[in-house]
Structure formats: structure tokens, C-alpha cells
């Protein structure tokens, strides 16, 4: 049974698993790495591309990405040109399903007079068409379709361009916020996130079972929804599995979220208007598109970095590896203030590959408890959670409505973030706190989640209910 919701994730996982096996065995030689392609694509009929030789050539590129990708490029998202299938980009097209009917709804729906019926076939004048899509909706035969590339469609940051000569997709670095939407959406797996699994494994090996230094796993709040649909797998079993990989301890990043909510409440009162800083893609989006608003971004570290700081204060020789749903976290890790706090970032996909490489079967394990954060820290995983937590923190701090009237706006996904930022830029925003989550649904919609199900939000909330600490103040009291 696959853990993933599509086969691109599965393929990526197979490659990562093979590389992880070599890394754990300390056998990352060029020859061994060359063998991976033959293992992932065995002799026989091609399953994905024209022939197994092309498939293997692509796997070789995936191996490079699994090894950390192109070190000269700082962006953690890269295009695998050879894997890009050059999807059509010819805009709105009339397909042979057009019956040449006499209603001509398409013609009438077009605001630009771009459609004519010639010889009982609708014909689109490309010079006039603005690709509004009204004819698509109007046609009774669904005979009109729009060809945009799934990656371009997915990228709401407007960071993808098509190279006119090669027809391959390319990343506009000045626009890309490393959110990874294209990585998840490309049906050919041609846009990928650099992987740092070999770094993580090196840290684990060098720790010699936590004798030389301790390795801490900080797991994102969206951990709660990753395996929730599989009855035989509990969160507590996955914690045991992570420890079996060689981690000393597993801690909820949600505890960092509690700390963030607590101090963000104070900062909000102090500044009067604030945007959240938890989502690294949102912060990048502001920096690249709304530079004037940058001063309003909360100065708080993200929950990941905030918790890592607490860990390192207590154990300066310890290493922190974050495990989450997020590709942009890999970029955040490169920031000056975060580099020394977080030693490596893995995704849930990559965690699964590490477990597979070690032959760890999640179903068969005993349980290890995980309980660090409050309900409010835990619901950071889904849209609206951060706002609820900040409101709660204000209440706990007994800051009354009269002292500060908090009006949060939870922006679910990049489109809502954009609208709010546009308004804020013109000082037309009624609210005074913007919670910005670039992924739809919040972190549970992250590109490197194992699944993306409509039930995930409910899973997060019910896991939140299981927290021992009921208030943020109780959860963070141990740090005073």
C-alpha cells in the first residue's frame, strides 16, 4: 500500500529510499549511486516515459536532487529539465468534440468576439482571445478546453516561465517563494525540492547513537494528519519509528508555536498592526512583492526555529532536525538567524523514505508518547489556528478589548494572502493581524505532506484536544 496520494510522490520516495539505504550503509560512492537507476527502473517495459533509458536518465537526475541538488543555486526548488514533458501551452482550444451546433453559445459568451463558426466548427481567433474561459463554461458539449501547464496553474506567485525555444519550464528566481506548489502539482515530477536526507543521515551516524552528541527531531504540528487515515498506525508508533532511526528525542514544534503565539500577542499590542512570520513562504512573498510591508512582519522566529533555540540553549552540542510538510522550511533553514538553530530540514515524504531504508514497519511498533504543546500550539497546522492562538494568548494575558481590540484575518492560501496584502498596502484593511498561510488549508496542505485529504483539519483539531496542557500559558510556563 502506498502512503502517498500520487505516483510522482511514490517515484520520488523510491529514489530517496535507495539513496538513504546507501547513506545509512556509508556507501555513497559514485558507482553505487549509478546503480540506483537500475533498481528503480528495472529491465522490461517502460512504465512512465518512452523507454527505460530515458526513465533511468531521469532517475539519475533525481538522485542528484536527493544528494542535495545543484549547490550553486540557492533556491531549494529546481527544475529537472529532462523530466519536463513540455506540456502544451496553446491556451484555449476547440476540440473535435465540437458538434458545430446551431446555438453558438460560445460565440455569444465571448466578450471579445474571438469565436467564429466556420464550416460548422467553432474557431478561435488567437489574436483576440484573452483566455477568460467563458466559452468553456458555455459549451454544451464540453468541447472547449484550456491548455495551461499544471505547474503554471499551481504557481500563484507567478514565478514560472516557459522557455520559448526549449519549451521547458523555468523558475523566475525573483518571484519564487519556494512554496513547492508546483512540486506537488507537476504531473511528471519535473519540479523538485532539494533533499538533505544524506546530511540528516550523516548527523545521525556521527552522533553514534547519541553518544557523541544528541539528535533531536522537531516534528511539525501537521504530523497529526499524516497517518491519521491509517487505523493501524498511531502518532505514538511513528514517534517510536523516528527514535529507531537514531534520534534521541522527538519534540512537537507546536510547543514552539505556543511560545510564538505568546510573544506575538505582545508584539501585536506594541505595534498595532502585524503579519505573522510562521510561514516562510508567506514571509518571502511579502519580501518579494510587498517590500513596504516588511516592517510589519512579526520579528518572531518561526515555531520551528523558536523551539530549536530552546533546545540548543539547554544542549549546545545537540543537533536539531526538523521534520515537516514544508519545502519553504528548507529555504528558511538557510537564513542567517536560523542556520545555527536548525541543522537540517526533512519532509514527511523524506521521513518515510528513511523509515523504508531502515526497514522499519510503522504498524508493528510499540508506542512512545508525544505530548509537549497545548491545543493552541497544535492547531497551528491548519488555517485559522494561529489567529485563534493569538486571540487566546491576549485573553490569557488579560489584555482586554478596550486595551487592544484584536481583529485577526486568517488568510487561507496565497490568493487570500495577496488580497489582504494589497489592501494593507493601501491602508484599506479593516483587520489588524494577518495570519498568512501560503498553502491551501494551512500546513496540512503542504506540498510534502503524505496525503492531502479533506479530513486533515478534523484530525488536527482532535489531536489538539488530546494535549495535556489546556492553555498556552501552561504549556510555556516551563520555560520561565
Amino acid at each position: 500500500m502506498s502512503f502517498f496520494d500520487n505516483n510522482v510522490q511514490q517515484l520520488k520516495y523510491e529514489v530517496l529510499s535507495e539513496v538513504a539505504k546507501l547513506a545509512f550503509a556509508n556507501e555513497l560512492s559514485a558507482e553505487k549511486l549509478m546503480d540506483v537507476a537500475g533498481i528503480v527502473v528495472p529491465e522490461g517495459k517502460a512504465r512512465m516515459r518512452c523507454c527505460i533509458y530515458k526513465e533511468r536518465a531521469i532517475v539519475n537526475e533525481r538522485v542528484k536532487i536527493a544528494m542535495g541538488g545543484n549547490a550553486k543555486k540557492t533556491n531549494v526548488v529546481e527544475v529537472l529539465e529532462i523530466a519536463c514533458d513540455e506540456c502544451p501551452v496553446d491556451g484555449i482550444q476547440v476540440t473535435p468534440a465540437c458538434r458545430g451546433c446551431i446555438a453558438h453559445r460560445c460565440v455569444n459568451a465571448c466578450p471579445k468576439q474571438a469565436i467564429e463558426v466556420v464550416d460548422r466548427q467553432a474557431v478561435i481567433d488567437k489574436s483576440r482571445c484573452v483566455e477568460c474561459g467563458r466559452c468553456i463554461a458555455a459549451c454544451s458539449y464540453s468541447a472547449i478546453t484550456k491548455h495551461t501547464r499544471p505547474c503554471v496553474n499551481a504557481c500563484k506567485a507567478n514565478a514560472l516561465a516557459i522557455n520559448k525555444e526549449t519549451k521547458k519550464v523555468a523558475i523566475k528566481e525573483d518571484k519564487c517563494i519556494s512554496c513547492g506548489a508546483c512540486v506537488y502539482r507537476c504531473p511528471f515530477g519535473a519540479i523538485v525540492d532539494k533533499s538533505y536526507i544524506t546530511q540528516a543521515i550523516r548527523i545521525l551516524l556521527e552522533s553514534r547513537n547519541n553518544a557523541v552528541f544528541k539528535v533531536y527531531a522537531v516534528v511539525a504540528p501537521s504530523f497529526a494528519s499524516q497517518y491519521a487515515a491509517i487505523p493501524e498506525i498511531t502518532i505514538e508508533k511513528v514517534v517510536t519509528a523516528i527514535k529507531k532511526l537514531g534520534f534521541f528525542s522527538v519534540i512537537e514544534a507546536a510547543l514552539g508555536a505556543d511560545l510564538v503565539a505568546y510573544s506575538e500577542a505582545d508584539e501585536l499590542v506594541e505595534k498595532g498592526f502585524l503579519t505573522s512570520s510562521c510561514c516562510p513562504a508567506f514571509v518571502q512573498y511579502i519580501q518579494k512583492n510587498f517590500a513596504a510591508l516588511e516592517e510589519h512582519v512579526s520579528r518572531n522566529l518561526s515555531p520551528m526555529a523558536r523551539l530549536a533555540k530552546e533546545i540548543k540553549q539547554r544542549d549546545p552540542y545537540g543537533k536539531v532536525i526538523f521534520i515537516g510538510p514544508c519545502i519553504a522550511k528548507k529555504a528558511e533553514r538557510q537564513l542567517a538567524g536560523v542556520k545555527d538553530l536548525v541543522d537540517c530540514v526533512l519532509t514527511f515524504e523524506e521521513l518515510q523514505a528513511l523509515l523504508n531504508a531502515k526497514g522499519i514497519d510503522l504498524r508493528a511498533l510499540e508506542e512512545t508518547p508525544l505530548n509537549n504543546a497545548s491545543f493552541f500550539g497544535r492547531i497551528f497546522a491548519r488555517t485559522g489556528g494561529l489567529s485563534e492562538a493569538v486571540v487566546q494568548a491576549l485573553q490569557e494575558k488579560e489584555i482586554s478589548r478596550e486595551q487592544f481590540d484584536c481583529k485577526p484575518l486568517a488568510c487561507n492560501g496565497i490568493a487570500e494572502c495577496k488580497t489582504a496584502l494589497l489592501k494593507a498596502n493601501k491602508r484599506l484593511l479593516a483587520e489588524n493581524f494577518i495570519e498568512g498561510m501560503i498553502c491551501e488549508g494551512g500546513c496540512i496542505g503542504g506540498p510534502a505532506c503524505l496525503t492531502h485529504s479533506s479530513k486533515d483539519r478534523a484530525f488536527v483539531d482532535s489531536y489538539g484536544q488530546k494535549a495535556i496542557e489546556k492553555t498556552i500559558g501552561d504549556a510555556v510556563a516551563v520555560f520561565e
Binding site: I251, R314, T368, N371, D474, V478
Partner: protein, 81 residues
């Protein structure tokens, strides 16, 4: 004297937060705030035997609300007085 109370998940489930609160209260009560320092640790490596605390270099397991007062008397108060 430095005391570390484990706030890892296993110890937390066995009420290490309460142990920590209690310890801090007793230290304040006895005005030891200048000589005994309490802080937290993320797991002291004895998860199955918690609550675990560390007094300077010594690990004590099996701590709970039932015996923290005794531990304070015998191990902490006795040592600093």
C-alpha cells in the same frame, strides 16, 4: 546547585510540569533562589522511569508529586544548608 527537570513527553505525561512547579515553590519558600537554580531539559534519557530530574550531575528517576518533598528535603535542602 543546578536542577534540571525533564519536560520530555514521557515525563510530562507523568506530571513533570507539576513537579517543576512544586520544586520552584519550595525553593522560593526556603529562599534558596540565589543558590538553587531550576531549569528544564528535553529528555534526560530515562523515559521509561520518569519523572526524571538531574541535580548537578546526578540523575534521579521515579520522581513524582508523591516524593518530590522528600527529595527536596534530603537531596537539596540538606546539600545547600
Amino acid at each position: 546547585m543546578n536542577i534540571y527537570v525533564c519536560i520530555g513527553s514521557s515525563c510530562h505525561q507523568r506530571s513533570s510540569y507539576a513537579v517543576m512547579r512544586q520544586l520552584k515553590a519550595m525553593i522560593a519558600e526556603n529562599r534558596l533562589g540565589n543558590s538553587v537554580f531550576v531549569s528544564s531539559a528535553f529528555c534526560l534519557g530515562h523515559c521509561a522511569a520518569g519523572v526524571t530530574i538531574q541535580i548537578d550531575d546526578e540523575i534521579i528517576t521515579g520522581v513524582g508529586m508523591g516524593n518530590i518533598a522528600d527529595i527536596f528535603q534530603d537531596r537539596i535542602l540538606a546539600a545547600v544548608r
